[in-house]
């Protein structure tokens, strides 16, 4: 990978701690007081100018949450979270839209620059009110040669801006923040919100249902192929805040959409909490492709700080012949607790899960998927690559089940783990449950280290050890990288290089 040296150099420049996005943005924010009670929920709901039914929904979830216990089955260890010591709402202070980039808070612009978002995109992201269609086109051409990407940027609790709305609207696609969707498309939100991950689902999902502040909403109507990639940037900025975003994506009959989320947070000594819920709904013949590049702050070299990432992601292949595909590159977070799942309800539907989980330092990853086969002739495929280095613990936990009526269910699972160093751990915990005689499940898993032969082969060609390892690791994860949209595949490869920095010698 030629990018390796360049990546290493860049990282060195940024910080000793090697976290690329560890900057904090000094933007004035509007915060709710710490703590969680019904008043805070009312405040969030009021700030978002939500209708009454939404407030009731939140309060219902909150009351339910009070009765739940934190789950402890995952292989992660962390001090008990004080849920009353968190700000549940923080928003950058709003003012009328700026006329040009000069008027935009320069701090905000710096954030985008560091995030690697190009200038024209930055204008749009910052809400400069001049973008007309032609300029957008130009911006796009400069930005992404292989395709265009519409971006929704979420800062702490608030969606800052969404780009390309107009063009998407022409195609009939709705892409906006979830708060906006609640106000403007209540019928859609009411119909689908909570229909995949109900408010009573699990501790963190229920908490999210009560206090979620923003996130993205995508609706692709019948027969429409979304003309561009959709993308959301999540960033936790404010100290002591939790980010609770909620994403809802609906693809109607025959629709197609590809969506990518990217996540970063500044460096902090304390731990930040991130508990998101993502719901995907695919009707007949629809296809949703959901990719994640997760790079929350993983904590420093001693394991101090970092983001707790407790996420519930679930896709519902509700229609016949529908397809949902999850791809994730997990390099950040102190703790990851995440199982993007597919409910294969429609006949002939299919689900895919491609994952790379890289852990270094004191990171703990417990991630995997669930494939629930309910319909006939459903198929699923799981490819998971875990790489553990430093003092980290990396667990794959997955479930494949075929219910009584799931005739001809098919699954193939492959999870490989790579260990770098003798202080880390790699674990595999797959659950297979077959209740139908025509089901065919295959599972294979391996764990090993990079062989000395492989390393020797690469190094004897003059490649230094660290680069050699990055090269071999990138070969190891190639199957998954190939599933990512082009622009992000490059980013992901670099991220893996960065994450493994310092894991040798």
């Amino acid at each position: 990978m030629p990018a390796v040296q360049e990546t290493i150099d860049r990282v060195r420049k940024i910080d000793v701690d090697q976290y690329k996005f560890g900057f904090q943005t000094e933007i004035e924010t509007d915060k709710a007081p710490k703590g969680l009670n019904e008043d805070i929920i009312r405040l969030i709901s009021a700030k978002k100018r939500e209708p009454d039914w939404m407030l009731e929904w939140r309060l219902g979830a909150f009351r339910r949450w009070l009765t739940l216990e934190e789950p402890t089955w995952a292989r992660v260890k962390y001090p008990k979270i004080d849920f009353q010591d968190i700000h549940y709402y923080a928003a950058p202070k709003s003012s009328p839209g700026p006329k040009s980039l000069d008027e935009v808070d320069p701090e905000l612009l710096k954030v985008y620059e560091k995030l690697g978002i190009p200038l024209k995109e930055q204008e749009i992201l910052a809400g400069v009110q001049k973008a007309d269609a032609s300029e957008l086109e130009e911006a796009n051409d400069n930005v992404y040669k292989s395709g265009r990407v519409a971006v929704d940027a979420v800062f702490d609790s608030v969606s800052v801006v969404t780009t390309f709305k107009k063009e998407l609207a022409e195609a009939g696609v709705i892409f906006c923040s979830i708060s906006e969707a609640i106000r403007e498309h209540p019928e859609l939100v009411q119909k689908y919100l909570g229909s995949v991950v109900p408010t009573s689902d699990n501790f963190y999902a229920t908490l999210n249902s009560a206090v979620f502040t923003d996130g993205s909403f995508v609706f692709v109507p019948k027969g429409v192929r979304c003309p561009m990639e959709l993308s959301t940037y999540f960033r936790i900025n404010e100290r002591n805040t939790g980010q609770f975003e909620r994403t809802l994506i609906i693809a109607e009959e025959g629709a197609y959409v590809s969506y990518l989320e990217g996540c970063t947070a500044p460096q902090r000594d304390e731990n930040q909490l991130h508990a998101a819920v993502v719901e995907l709904i695919a009707l007949d013949d629809a296809e949703i492709k959901y990719s994640t590049v997760q790079n929350w702050y993983p904590g420093d070299a001693e394991g101090k700080g970092g983001v707790y990432n407790f996420v519930t992601k679930r896709g519902d292949c509700r229609g016949d012949r529908s397809k949902i595909s999850w791809t994730q590159v997990e390099t950040g977070s102190a703790i990851t607790w995440k199982y993007p799942s597919c409910i294969l309800r429609g006949d002939d539907s299919s689900g895919e899960f491609y994952s790379i989980a890289v852990s270094n330092g004191y990171q703990q990853v417990d991630s995997g998927t669930k494939m629930i086969h309910l319909g006939k002739n459903t198929s699923s495929r799981i490819i998971s690559k875990g790489i553990a280095a430093g003092f980290s613990q990396n667990t794959y936990r997955g479930q494949v089940s075929a219910h009584r009526k799931a005739a001809n269910a098919r699954n193939f699972t492959n999870c490989d783990s790579l260990l770098i160093g003798d202080q880390c751990g790699a674990h595999t915990v797959p659950y297979m449950e077959a209740k139908n005689a025509t089901a065919k499940f295959e599972h294979e898993a391996t764990t090993s280290k990079i062989s000395e032969d492989q390393k020797f082969y690469v190094m004897q060609r003059g490649i230094p050890e660290e680069e050699a390892i990055a090269l071999i690791v990138n070969g190891f994860v190639k199957d998954v990288i190939q599933q990512l949209p082009m622009e992000f595949a490059v980013e992901a490869q670099k991220l893996i290089g960065i994450s493994l920095e310092g894991s040798v010698g």
Binding site: L419, T428, V429, E433, N436, A437, A439, K440, E444, A445
Partner: protein, 426 residues
């Protein structure tokens, strides 16, 4: 053993606790043994494990153990012909060992009731973990069994067969064996019983094996309980330096069965093989759970399970391989293959790898499938009717594991048991 406070005791829990109070005065043991018994019943008082306890996820004992039979003092069970010709038989009939000991050179056999009375087995009565419900149940109630000591360097010509047989009621048995350095032995553990009218026996059986340096042991568990019995069993082994253990488990009976296999390699160069077949039929539940600890460097293990599920049977295989941080150069492989032959059958499997050392080669594979239609077609195209063809394929699927055993007499004996099962379960 259960973190969650149980709101109310189930009938079975209450019956066990009451039974303990009634039996206490009859149970052998010195002070140390009695203390262990008290600790064990305390654990049961906290509730039997539910599906919320990870290692019992697929066998919710609290829900599934609905009835606990009373102890039947006058039930009569008869010793069986051994699986292997010429084997010395050590029967435990309705939980009571025989006073007649066979004379084998280099082998000392003692009744476990004596070892309980003098307290010499007390340290071995500990549970191996907080969720060890079988260990707790057995420790609380164990009254008899055997202790077999095979002296260093003894190479046994004939097998030793330990039989645990009941005709109803409850039986709690422990079978202990120590195989000395350089010794060689084949040991058969026979678990069977007679169906009774009172709704089936409750059996707990714990086997503990310690294998010395360079010793080789083949241990066969042949479980053919009647389909009314609840059979909760545990096999624990420690493997010394260069020790070799081949454990063969055949489950072909019982209503509610849990066979735990807990193995630890404690000496470098140790090798463990688990070969298992589960033949599941009727409305039964059979759980095989293995926990294997590679605790020292340079040890190896392979596990192969073959399962056949018919009728409304439910099968479970959980296999966890732990590789400790210090256990570099571990080589561990596990496979679990299942044939689901009926629409109402189900099989759940959870092969786990838990690895803390980096210089290892570990892998597992698991499959669940029905009979391959191409294979069936191939046979039927040669004029073999469907039923016979299916039978051939199923038998070939499980026999593959048996044939791996190198001893011809063993292979023949096990295939005979296999044929017996196919005859009755078609």
């Amino acid at each position: 053993m259960n973190m969650h406070a149980q709101p109310q005791r189930t009938l079975a829990e209450t019956a066990l606790i009451d039974a303990f109070g009634e039996r206490l005065s009859l149970l052998p043991g010195d002070g140390a043994v009695m203390t262990k018994r008290d600790d064990a019943i305390e654990a049961i008082k906290h509730g039997l494990p539910t599906r919320r306890i990870e290692s019992w996820h697929y066998t919710d004992l609290r829900r599934m153990l609905t009835k606990v039979p009373v102890f039947e003092a006058d039930a009569v069970a008869k010793a069986l012909e051994p699986v292997l010709d010429g084997a010395a038989v050590l029967p435990v009939l309705n939980g009571v060992s025989s006073t007649k000991m066979p004379e084998i050179e280099g082998v000392t056999v003692q009744r476990l009731s004596e070892k309980l009375t003098d307290g010499s087995v007390a340290p071995g009565l500990d549970r191996y973990g907080a969720d060890d419900a079988i260990g707790a149940l057995n420790t609380a109630f164990v009254a008899d069994g055997y202790f077999v000591d095979i002296a260093d360097g003894t190479e046994l010509e004939n097998a030793i067969e330990l039989q645990n047989l009941q005709a109803g009621g409850q039986a709690h048995v422990r079978l202990l064996a120590r195989v000395g350095a350089g010794a060689k032995a084949i040991i058969v553990e026979r678990q069977a019983g007679e169906a009774d009218e009172n709704g089936g026996a409750l059996v707990s059986s714990v086997s503990q094996l310690v294998i010395g340096e360079g010793a080789e042991v083949t241990w066969l568990i042949v479980q053919e309980q009647p389909d009314t019995a609840t059979h909760l069993a545990q096999f624990k082994a420690h493997l010394g330096k260069d020790a070799k253990l081949t454990l063969f488990v055949m489950n072909a009976g019982g209503k509610l069965v849990r066979q735990e296999v807990v193995v630890r390699t404690t000496g470098e160069g140790a090798d463990f093989k688990l070969r298992g077949i589960n033949l599941l039929a009727g409305d039964t539940h059979t759980d095989t759970t293995m926990v294997l600890d590679h605790a020292v460097p340079h040890t190896s293990s392979t596990e192969v399970m073959r399962n056949v599920v018919t009728g409304r049977a439910r099968g479970v295989f959980q296999g966890r391989i732990n590789v400790h941080q210090y256990a570099q150069k571990t080589n561990a492989k596990m496979a679990c293959n299942t044939l689901l032959l009926s629409d109402d059958g189900e099989f759940s499997t959870k092969p786990e790898l838990e690895i803390f050392a980096d210089d290892v080669v570990c892998g597992h594979g698991a499959t669940v499938t029905e009979i391959d239609h191409d294979h069936l077609f191939y046979l039927m195209a040669r004029g073999i009717d469907e039923k016979t063809a299916r039978g051939l394929l199923v038998k070939a699927f499980v026999a593959e594991v048996i044939e791996e055993l190198e001893d011809d007499a063993l292979v023949d004996a096990l295939e005979a048991r296999l044929d017996g099962w196919f005859l009755t379960h078609g």
